[in-house]
């Protein structure tokens, strides 16, 4: 069977290499006097892309710093400056800027930004970004609201994902959206004045088209993964491909996902699978690979076939432009993206033909998914960590043996 086991996904390797090259190229462009921006994920990237201003998304940057195991070092940096953050992950970029040391910074650190943009949705976000901008000597532009300011809005309706693409205007308060559009226009004007770059509506239209095209390919990959048993692509590869999200609305970003789709399609046609002996299919809710993925595969022939972000591209990012107003359409996306509702999670687990779902939650919080999952008969295990400990393994075993397997009569291990 060895010829049917998938190796590393080719396109995922290319994606990783591209990211590094991209940053090196950005550094060179900035060295030549071009502008560079930092913004919070999903706030404004497409508009920077449309204006040809390279942009680093701070969630992505924090992830790079955390992946390079610099978190504890930067915690010290913040402490020395008198800060004791509750949410270190969010403050890593600020710490890196404060440290200002290319030798310690991942990938040699970021070039000097011309502007930092972020939302005011969290008290911490506004403060951290303002301090970060000051550290870099550039302006910080706060945008009111920001993504998923749902606490003040009525919760999204059941099966909201079915309305997101064509009926997004029903899911957002028009007055708030007006403010956001005005803010985005002011920011565009500011960028035009300070960077000399131009904003072209036609370019933004193209960006909006490319986003939808990219998300449609993503939807096709998701459907292929969901329908194919055994699963054709490993969870780490699926997650690696998510980096293409940071190049939304560009030809490059779209081509990456198209190539991803083609590679997976070819695998399916040739019968190449990530785990050919797959007996159980599981969904894993965060957007990481847990340390016990190998244990699950070896002991139970279980594959992690989908994760917390599997459906975000197609369910949340694709938007139909209304009234030829791509800016307003995008602004809506900058404000409402998704809500982690149990019905959405359950839909994903069922779509991917899962036998059970593992979620990692905060021990202080009850599982939001549990009531609906219990009622539907979809086994759900709530864990407090993604670490591979003896205790976690025994909880996983107990759950699989007492809840998942009896539910799944056809399986003999």
């Amino acid at each position: 069977m060895s010829d049917t086991i998938a190796g590393e996904l080719k396109i995922a390797g290319e994606m990783n290499a591209y990211q590094r090259k991209w940053l090196a190229n950005v550094r060179e462009r900035v060295g030549n006097g071009e502008p560079f921006a930092i913004c919070n994920g999903d706030e404004f990237e497409e508009i920077f892309n449309a204006m040809d201003i390279p942009v680093m998304v701070l969630n992505y940057w924090s992830k790079i710093i955390a992946t390079e195991a610099k978190a504890s070092y930067y915690k010290k940096v913040l402490k020395e400056r008198g800060y004791d953050p509750l949410h270190l992950f969010f403050s890593l970029g600020l710490a890196c800027a404060m440290d200002n040391n290319p030798e310690t910074a991942p990938w040699g650190g970021l070039p000097k930004p011309s502007v930092i943009v972020g939302g005011s949705k969290h008290d911490r976000e506004m403060k951290v970004l303002e301090l970060w901008a000051r550290e870099c000597g550039c302006p910080f532009i706060p945008m009111e609201f920001g993504l998923n300011t749902t606490p003040e809005q009525p919760p999204l309706p059941p099966r909201w994902w079915e309305r997101m693409r064509d009926h997004w205007d029903e899911l957002i308060d028009p007055d708030r959206l007006n403010v956001r559009v005005e803010e985005e226009k002011s920011l565009i004007r500011f960028l035009e004045i300070t960077t000399g770059k131009h904003f072209s509506p036609a370019k933004l239209d193209r960006v909006a088209e490319l986003i939808n095209e990219q998300m449609d390919y993503w939807g096709k990959v998701r459907d292929l993964i969901a329908a194919t048993i055994p699963c054709p692509v490993s969870l780490p590869d699926q997650i690696a491909m998510y980096q293409a999200m940071w190049h939304r609305g560009t030809e490059m970003g779209c081509n990456f996902i198209k190539a991803y789709y083609e590679e997976i399609k070819e695998r399916v046609e040739k019968g190449i699978f990530a785990n050919p002996n797959e007996k159980l299919r599981l969904m894993y809710i965060p957007a990481t690979t847990p340390a016990y993925a190998g244990f699950l595969e070896e002991t139970y022939h279980a594959s992690l076939v989908c994760f917390g972000y599997s459906s975000i591209p197609i369910d949340c990012y694709a938007r139909t432009v209304h009234n030829n107003d791509a800016l307003r359409t995008l602004a809506s996306r900058h404000m409402v993206l998704f809500s982690e509702t149990p019905d959405w999670r359950l839909k994903d687990a069922q779509l991917h033909q899962c036998d059970g779902v593992i979620e990692v939650i905060d021990p202080a919080m009850p599982s939001l998914n549990k009531p609906l999952f219990d009622a539907s008969g979809m086994p759900l295990l709530s864990l407090y960590t993604d670490k591979d400990t003896r205790d976690i393994k025994s909880r996983l075993s107990r759950w699989i043996e007492t809840t998942v397997l009896p539910n799944h009569k056809g399986v003999t291990l």
């Binding site: 400056r81 008198g82 800060y83 004791d84 953050p85 509750l86 949410h87 969010f90 005011s120 949705k121 969290h122 008290d123 911490r124 506004m126 403060k127 951290v128 303002e130 301090l131 000051r134 910080f140 706060p142 009111e144 998923n148 749902t150 606490p151 003040e152 919760p155 007055d175 708030r176 007006n178 403010v179 005005e182 803010e183 002011s186 982690e340 905060d362 202080a364 919080m365 009850p366 939001l368």
Partner: protein, 379 residues
């Protein structure tokens, strides 16, 4: 009772006036924070009542409803306490509750309360209203805020069944302006050399203004100020307090037991509540909107520099010799400001003691007393 004793009674028994009002058939509109235009509530004929926490109380029920969402901030103790008190029925005299868009943990209460109200009517929560207002003072934020304040006015009119006329609004503004003017006199007496009013007295005076009918508060406060000559001069090291919301006296009691006097502060239960008046020339709604849009900033507002300037200017004008900075555990809005505040105060020759991650209820008063005493001595 002396006027101050009456004020003090209302600070201790915070529901006294509101319950009496209710008994007479009036309705009470509760609200969080200091950014809800009380004047509109008053002009609609309701009793505006600000919610506060109770550091001696429990938070058991609130903890059963932790904040949810990937990036959701944990609630500060005072927020959990207010939430808990709503759930235990301590606020059963509220007919309506306005949750403003304020610090994250407060505005998120709207959603959780709405869910509880919907699913568990046995908690008898008041009718809820979310009042949005933004984090910046830019032009477009002002346009938007006005829209939401107009909607709030319309809602109040629906609740009361009668229109809020310009005249009624101007009258309410006159009453709150008088209150702020009197409170500014209190602030000036604290900033005087020597101070004539202590910090703990001031907190009671300012706080009770949010628990009493404003006219009554004005009357008592005027009487209190009429007897100024009875106030003895206070002595002690002049301390400024920069803090998370202090809706109780514990910290000031400790500071003032250490040979210091709190001459001013920057938090929403102190001078910041009252230091900006409403312009009485022109359209009253516009003037009200202008005041709430531009009032002294609380830590949720942009930009940082405005906050730091406010803190330092307040400390300098109070003639502070030192500052005590008290940041509650989980108060992220304030936490990120402190290194800047410390530096800016220092540049003005004001040394500070930074108390981080403090519990809402002071857990070890003796330990804190000795830290503060040592700091006061070092000034």
């Amino acid at each position: 009772m002396t006027p101050f004793e009456i004020i003090q009674t209302h600070y201790c028994r915070r529901d006294l006036a509101a319950r009496a009002w209710k008994q007479k058939g009036g309705k009470v509109v509760g609200y969080f924070c200091d950014n809800v235009p009380e004047e509109l509530i008053q002009a609609a004929g309701f009793f505006p009542y600000r919610l506060s926490g109770d550091p001696t109380g429990t938070v058991e029920i609130a903890e059963k409803y932790p904040p949810t969402g990937t990036m959701a901030a944990p609630r500060e103790g005072f927020v959990n306490s207010m939430f808990n008190r709503l759930m235990t029925g301590e606020y059963d005299f509220l007919d309506f509750l306005v949750v403003p868009h304020a610090r994250e943990t407060i505005h998120r209460l709207h959603q959780v309360l709405a869910e509880i109200k919907d699913q568990n009517p046995s908690f008898h929560l008041p009718e809820l209203y979310f009042l949005d207002n933004l984090h910046t003072t830019f032009y477009w934020s002002g346009v938007y805020n006005r829209l939401r304040w107009r909607e709030f006015k319309t809602t109040l009119e629906q609740w009361s069944g009668k229109e809020i006329t310009d005249m009624a609004l101007s009258d309410a503004i006159a009453v709150t302006n008088e209150n702020r003017t009197l409170l500014k006199k209190i602030a000036a007496l604290r900033a005087a050399d020597p101070p004539r009013i202590s910090g703990t007295q001031a907190l009671r005076i300012i706080g009770s203004s949010m628990f009493m009918l404003k006219e009554e508060h004005n009357r008592r406060l005027s009487q209190f100020l009429d007897e100024l000559d009875k106030l003895s001069a206070k002595d002690g090291v002049r301390v400024f307090v920069e803090a998370s919301p202090l809706d109780h006296l514990q910290l000031y009691d400790i500071i003032e037991s250490c040979g210091a006097i709190v001459v001013g502060e920057d938090h929403c239960w102190g001078n910041r509540y009252s230091d900006v008046l409403i312009n009485t020339a022109g359209d009253p709604f516009e003037a009200l909107a202008d005041r709430y849009h531009n009032k002294s900033p609380c830590p949720r507002m942009f930009p940082l520099s405005r906050r730091i300037d406010y803190c330092v200017n307040s400390a300098v004008s109070a003639g502070a010799q030192g500052a005590i900075i008290n940041v509650y555990e989980f108060d992220e809005a304030l936490m990120w400001e402190i290194p800047d505040a410390v530096k800016a105060l220092e540049e003005k020759g004001i040394p500070s003691l930074h108390l981080r991650n403090q519990p809402y209820r002071i857990a070890d008063p003796d330990l804190l007393t000795s830290r503060i005493r040592e700091f006061i001595k070092s000034i």
